[in-house]
Symmetry: C2
Subunit: 131 residues, 2 copies
């Protein structure tokens, strides 16, 4: 992820309604939620929510697709992953000692103390025998 995208994502998440929306949509994965349902759940007017959804979509954090007369939104988990990578690439890039506790927070597992400075978009090895 590049800096402008990260800025957009942070900006999008820095507003209470938008943050709540994003979290709600993550919890609603993978089905997603129609805009009206989000508005009802968050007690926000639809036009206001629409503007917030537009910001989130512009930041790439959510995506909406029309289903009949409703528009169903769902979180873009890949974008979240990219954002996490962006946040950690600075420290994990050259400092595995700093990276380890960060990974710890995410996984709850002490994580091996060796982060390679590549945190973009490449799943290392979990392909052959994953679940």
């Amino acid at each position: 992820m590049e800096t402008p995208h990260a800025l957009a994502a942070f900006g999008a998440l820095s507003q209470p309604t938008r943050l709540a929306t994003f979290r709600l949509l993550i919890q609603a994965l993978p089905a997603g939620l129609p805009a009206g349902e989000i508005a009802a759940a968050l007690a926000v007017r639809q036009n206001t929510l629409s503007a917030h959804l537009a910001v989130l979509a512009e930041a790439g954090l959510v995506r909406g697709e029309r289903q009949g007369r409703t528009i169903r939104y769902h979180a873009e988990i890949d974008r979240l992953r990219a954002l996490l990578g962006f946040l950690t690439q600075d420290c994990c890039g050259g400092r595995p000692d700093l990276c380890a506790p960060l990974a710890d927070a995410l996984t709850g597992v002490p994580a091996r103390p060796a982060c390679e400075p590549n945190t973009e978009t490449e799943p290392p090895c979990r392909s052959s025998n994953a679940t």
Copy 2:
């Protein structure tokens, strides 16, 4: 981390100068950097930077301590970790399937499952995959 703290953190990171400042300070860990040096590195006026540093400090992302007549700032890595945890607790909380790729992005190493069910002669994934 609680929502208001996360909002403050996102708001703090949603401004170009502040994001650059935070990243710079993370790279400068653990020594930190004096305010003047940050301002010079980012080509920002000191009063402007001071305001931004105040926002970052208010969000708990950086901390400054006086050293003689300079004030040396350094990133709060624990806060960053808390922020990562906040971002992932929604999906990781109940959905390990979503959490795994997220942790992956962070460390380059899959969380717990996914890598080696029972083969012990296999080196643990992270072998060599630099793009």
